[in-house]
């Protein structure tokens, strides 16, 4: 054949005008558009409110006043800003590192080796997600604090009057935050490791590499894009986190960027301009990170080695080090779950706050449990909470399923959808709460003060997490399975419903459970958005906490965690049965 001397032969790119538009005209165009509209409707109004609040003064009656840059000016004029920024950076980076190291190594051990007690790791992750942060953090502080058993023992052993651990330090904060988020890292990375191509590792072993060599030179490098994406995600979350910086940083006089913001929101009424300006700046920074993240998570596919065909997971035989792996899982259990639960159990059994000492044992009482069971309204709260959390989780999973599918498959508008869905990650809860409140008040239908509003708020707030779960899930489905549905005549919705959803169900279930669990304990928004008829559990717990009913709080928290665990276990059992049926396992 004689190649015709056309532009083609010259290798020039052939991209007729409107080629990009053609993508939109494709069968997924309408779905992209619809998902985009829903996402925009969810994310952009709060963003607009945020911008407005950050750019206006507040009149005494709380209405927005004149345009001003004062909030930004104040932000940057603060002489302590650079110190706080530095602290924030340290805190976010090292906490991310701790989460990644701890959660990541754990995920690897659980997914890729024959270490014993793997179930325990999952149990730990799930229960820990069901336990309110505040309980967690206070439990750790209680244990490692000045009067905690560890410093107590140290004093009695060494005879000194000082302390061994000072949790009210930057390192204390980093550790606590790191541990707090390691279950999430664990759950998401274990999916990555599960999907890894075992032959890559075996080839290294056959080449004479020890297990450590193999992990360091092969496994980690191959999972690198996924790890990096995960790291960015956790980093962003840490950067905007409030709980730990405030609970630990304030007494320790360690100011982070968010500490100030938090204090501003504690004024009466909260000074939202400041917080909003901060959020806007954060959105800018995080926007850059998100772009980076988008690029990284895209290249994660390059190494995606799963096709599903002939794939058998083959764990490493750790030999005697098996028990070291088991020990790590045990340590994780103790640190993430065991110790805090012991602390909670102790406080729930003592009549008033007391350090853990043998001397206090005779005074132990069940009165706190009696008190909890004596309050009938907890039942309503529990029902409300379950409804709201389940509603938010369901909606978030549905929306992010569409968004993640479009994004992961590079359909029209995919990147935009991904970023829209990830954006709420940077809204501080209270700011988002205010935005939602404003919007609900302006809504033409009765939304304000209903459970719907809380669910909506949770939906926006936790969409980014749903997105992560769904996105990595979609990447694991062999593309041809979907294409076969298209060729067989199914439209995008049909493909999604009949093929993608069933195949994705394990990832979707995990995502659902995750959102459900963290939504059930979310506080800052719940306080603002709940009306008299729509109180949720977290508000009640907050009430107990501010009233110093620590014992009752612990009792309630423990019971709540128990309920959540039962719920999650049931859910997993059902899920497993469901997917066992689906996959013939």
């Amino acid at each position: 054949m004689n190649p015709a001397p056309t532009a083609l032969a010259a290798g020039a790119p052939i991209r007729p005008l409107g080629h990009r538009l053609a993508r939109w005209a494709g069968p997924t165009g309408p779905l992209s558009l619809a998902t985009g509209l829903v996402l925009a409707a969810l994310v952009l109004p709060p963003l607009a409110v945020l911008l407005q609040v950050s750019l206006t003064t507040v009149n005494p009656d709380g209405s927005p006043g004149a345009l001003t840059f004062e909030h930004y000016a104040r932000l940057f004029a603060d002489p302590a800003l650079y110190r706080s920024a530095w602290n924030s950076l340290l805190f976010a980076s090292f906490a991310t590192l701790v989460s990644l190291l701890f959660g990541g190594v754990l995920a690897w051990v659980v997914e890729r080796t024959n270490a014993p007690m793997k179930g325990l790791a999952y149990l730990t992750a799930i229960i820990s997600m069901g336990t309110p942060y505040i309980l967690y953090v206070t439990a750790w502080l209680f244990l490692f604090g000045r009067a905690g058993p560890f410093n107590d023992w140290y004093r009695s052993l060494s005879g000194s009057t000082g302390i061994l651990f000072n949790p009210y330090s930057l390192w204390g904060m980093i550790l606590v935050e790191g541990f707090l988020w390691s279950p999430l890292v664990f759950l998401l990375l274990s999916a990555t490791f599960r999907a890894a191509n075992a032959e890559m590792e075996e080839a290294a072993r056959m080449s004479g590499a020890s297990i450590l060599d193999t992990v360091w030179r092969i496994s980690l490098r191959l999972a690198w894009p996924a790890i990096l994406a995960m790291a960015l995600f956790v980093f962003i979350r840490n950067l905007e986190s409030f709980d730990v910086p405030v609970l630990i940083g304030t007494p320790g006089r360690i100011n982070l960027l968010t500490t100030d913001i938090y204090l501003a929101t504690k004024e009466v009424p909260p000074l939202l301009g400041h917080a909003s300006a901060f959020s806007v700046v954060m959105i800018g920074i995080v926007g850059v990170l998100l772009l980076l993240y988008g690029r990284v998570s895209r290249s994660a596919e390059r190494y995606a080695s799963v096709t599903g065909k002939g794939f058998r997971p083959r764990p490493f035989d750790l030999g005697r080090a098996r028990w070291a792996g088991g020990a790590l899982i045990g340590f994780n259990f103790v640190i993430i779950l065991g110790l805090p639960l012991v602390a909670l159990l102790w406080t729930s059994l003592t009549p008033f706050a007391r350090p853990i000492r043998l001397a206090a044992v005779p005074s132990l009482t069940l009165k706190n449990y009696r008190a909890v069971f004596g309050v009938a309204s907890y039942l309503d709260l529990a029902v409300n909470t379950l409804l709201v959390a389940a509603g938010a989780a369901t909606a978030a999973v549905l929306i992010t399923l569409c968004a993640a599918w479009i994004a992961a498959r590079r359909r029209a508008g995919g990147t935009a959808l991904d970023q829209l869905a990830t954006l709420p990650l940077v809204f501080p809860g209270i700011v988002l709460g205010v935005a939602m409140m404003e919007l609900a008040l302006r809504a033409p239908f009765p939304l304000y003060g209903t459970l719907w509003l809380i669910a909506l708020g949770f939906l926006v707030r936790y969409m980014p997490y749903g997105m992560r779960y769904a996105y990595s899930g979609v990447l694991q489905i062999h593309r041809e399975l979907e294409e076969a549905a298209g060729v067989a005549g199914a439209g995008p919705i049909g493909t999604l419903r009949r093929v993608v959803v069933p195949l994705l169900s394990p990832a979707l279930l995990s995502g659902w459970l995750f959102i459900f669990l963290i939504a059930a304990k979310e506080l800052s928004m719940a306080v603002l958005l709940s009306g008299p008829g729509s109180q949720v559990m977290a508000v009640a717990m907050f009430d107990l906490w501010t009233n110093g009913q620590g014992g009752e709080l612990s009792a309630l928290g423990l019971l709540w965690a128990l309920l959540m665990t039962l719920f999650a276990t049931l859910f997993y059992a059902l899920g497993r049965r469901g997917s066992a049926g689906a996959f013939g396992r």
Partner: protein, 373 residues
């Protein structure tokens, strides 16, 4: 529906990469008669799958047009692009893409359940699925979970799914490449029978020349994104138009030389080799004197004899020494050192020459085909 004529015209689809557009397929044109079995053959990465996916609607081509019967599927100039789910095409993927969460029955029934053009009721679906499964000899497997099938069975489920709606066009992307040799042969026979039975126009993608030659009515050989030859299997095999086709479609020995005297099409003419030997070759196309050409000699066309055997009439004879010998079961394969080159020769399993033996290589003139160098 009755099969229809498929017309692919100047189809181009290249992929943007960091170093500019690459891969894909460029300016592919062909027309398929209704009921034809057409094969795209070529080495890995030559653009076979891209072509197939463009026809299926899984890729949006950059240029060209695709029409089936009177229906325009795609026309870059006119801006027409029918979504894939409305094209009514059956396709079997290389990985089969059997949905693991469904039974065999549900897999095959899927195209009927999602059909937009026509609603099928339960009884109809059951009847059509049963028919399709019977056609691929999988009657009775209806309720088996799709994950509990062997490779060959999966392949047949994929086929049943592709034909259940009686598509106007059937696309098969290397459907046999995942199977082991014995199964592959069985399935090949099966596939051929099936296509003849239902008479659907079929495009088959493979890189296995034996498969292509065995199954097809017509073959298009692709290389580097372009179609380099289209023709009937025997044309492709016996009348390659380039040394690439000669070498890719079946093993061959290529010998280089100069045409001694110009000749017309389908004529036998002498060719002078570098070492001074003269071979008589078949020229499928006219050739000018003193043009440089290559001669393709199939290993199975070569008969080996002890060195002293004379040249037969109308045959060529070369002289060499056995360099390697291999036993392939149904034949022996010899590498014969002739001058600097090693020529391959296949013989029946009974003829045995030891390595180092001097042998004569004999082949008829019409088995030495001239191709452009």
């Amino acid at each position: 529906m009755s099969p229809a004529t498929l017309q692919v015209h100047k189809l181009s689809k290249v992929y943007p990469t960091a170093d500019g557009p690459a891969g894909g397929v460029r300016e592919a044109s062909f027309t398929l008669e209704p009921g034809a079995f057409f094969t795209l053959l070529g080495p890995s990465g030559c653009g076979k799958t891209t072509t197939l996916r463009s026809i299926a609607g899984l890729e949006t081509p950059d240029a060209g047009s695709i029409r089936l019967g009177e229906r325009v599927f795609f026309d870059a100039a006119a801006g027409v692009n029918v979504p894939l789910n409305l094209r009514h095409i059956g396709m079997v993927f290389q990985s089969y893409a059997i949905w693991p969460h469904m039974t065999v029955f549900e897999n095959v029934a899927f195209p009927l359940r999602v059909s937009k053009q026509q609603r099928y009721d339960r009884a109809e679906i059951r009847r059509m699925v049963d028919t399709a499964l019977d056609t691929v000899s999988l009657g009775g497997f209806q309720d088996r979970s799709a994950t509990r099938l062997s490779g060959g069975q999966q392949q047949r489920v994929a086929l049943a799914r592709a034909i259940v709606r009686q598509p106007r066009l059937l696309l098969l992307d290397e459907p046999l490449s995942n199977l082991d040799a014995a199964l592959r042969e069985d399935m090949r026979t099966e596939l051929k029978r099936l296509q003849q039975q239902i008479g659907v126009t079929t495009i088959y993608v493979t890189h296995d020349q034996a498969e292509a030659l065995d199954l097809s009515d017509r073959i298009a050989v692709l290389n580097g994104g372009r179609i380099v030859q289209i023709g009937a299997p025997r044309d492709i095999y016996f009348r390659p138009q380039s040394s690439f086709v000669a070498g890719f479609v079946g093993a061959t020995n290529l010998v280089h030389g100069t045409v001694q005297a110009g000749c017309g099409a389908e004529a036998v003419a002498p060719v002078l080799l570098a070492d001074g030997q003269v071979l008589h070759c078949l020229f499928p196309r006219p050739a000018a004197g003193s043009a440089r050409i290559a001669i393709s000699i199939r290993p199975e066309a070569v008969t080996l004899t002890p060195a002293e055997a004379p040249r037969r009439d109308g045959w060529n004879r070369m002289q060499g020494v056995v360099a390697t010998s291999g036993f392939l079961g149904n034949m022996n394969r010899y590498g014969i050192r002739v001058g600097d080159a090693v020529m391959q020769a296949n013989t029946g399993p009974e003829a045995i020459f030891p390595v180092g033996a001097a042998v004569g290589l004999h082949f008829p003139s019409d088995s030495a085909v001239a191709v452009p160098d």
